[in-house]
Amino acid sequence: MGTSTEERRQRAVESLALDETRSHDRLDRITRLARTALGVPISTVTVIDGERAWFPSVSGIELTELPRDQTFCDRTHSDGDTLVVPDATVDDRFKHLPVVVEGGIRFYAGHPLRDHTGNVVGTFCVYDSEARTFDADEQTTFEDLAAWAELELVATTEMTQAGRVQASLLPSRPIRVDGWSVDGLCVPALAVGGDFYDYGVAQDVLHLGLGDVMGKGTGAALVGAGVRAALRGTHAAVTAGVDLGITATQVARSLLPDLERSETFVTLLEAAVELDDGYLRYVDAGAGLALLVRADGTPVALGSDDRPFGVLPDDHWTEHSEQIGPGDRLVLFSDGLLDLLDDPVDWVPPVADLVSAAPDGVSLLRSIRRLALHRTALDDVTVVAVFRDSA
């Protein structure tokens, strides 16, 4: 094997970012099934990492790692092809291996697992202490299981990483400034989701945004990241006092070609709050899910007649305003929260109750997170909570 191939392979393995300290349930399911389906005592998913081999999943034997050159899998890796060894004790390539001499392994079958660009990143293997072969059906079953293991190994790690990137695009910490606190929460239904939120303070103006891209998963997340960036680009203008209807319309126009090409749309609520007096300006693009709960518990739903971004090319958006008084609370949320309510149609009273009952924003988000986990949210659940202290 050439050094460059080996280097590329090693980089590909590292980019999987597999966690050696925890078990990989999705792979364990496959190795367990392999033993039953193929009637073998041992099955592994093996990753060659530098000079050692380790096992994201092992079934039928206790094993953590082996020197690379003591494994069958090293050969499967370098050949890049299915390797079947009917009887290792009579095979010159393998009869010296400790797993054969001391471990009593005679039969081995291994299949390379490749990432999207074709690098071999692991192997799916079965072993037996008896010499044997596969019949045609067993060969097919073995290949099917290997294809499944490949999918789990590569796709799962990619989704995990995409989820991490997406989480890193959210504000990293709450805002605590004189008399105000702002907290956010996003519980994606899948590893990555179509919801996003953003907040930040610039020159005593608090910027808030919460959007929901049609659909779920990576595609929606990509579009969401673009919308978030486009909105951030308007913050300076909004801080300077430019009408939110103007900036939103401008953002919608610039996003329209992208949204039309990807056949999606975005609902959004964007707001700017003057922190010195609580003057709230907002624009609503078909989100309709924002509630101002007065200090005395009176709910005021913030809505508009404006449609989502990406629906009709000639749409425009209008700024509205409200006043956040001392002791008032504002929540923006995605429709995933509605699914968690007993009656999603008449949502104002239960959401107002949740908001009023919470002593602070952190507690509110904690109770919503609990609700999302308890009820197994089917859609992303995203919330931004703004609490203004009592005077």
Partner: protein, 111 residues
Amino acid sequence: MIEIEVDRREGGIGVVVPKGRLNMVSARQLKELLGELVSSGATRVVVDLAETTFLDSSGLGAIIAGLKSARQAGGDLRIARPTATVLTVFQLTNMDKVLRPRDDVDTAFDD
């Protein structure tokens, strides 16, 4: 799973009846079906939502895509008889202004 009934009527009208949950999976099916309907000449489409028990953003997206392609072809798309839950989705997104719910499938294109 969802079952989608299609009824082609005179005057280039197509009536589509999705029965069940319109979510990410079934929305794709609806979108393709609406696209085929419009391109085959039924540019006036009624989506009868009486038996649609659930609608998420993907389902709404499929209906919007159908609306766009119908209008591009010189026709229109109208919705009829949504249940209270489904109607909420149109109201929250303010799509009820473009897609005003009709009470009756047969007269959905009378105005």
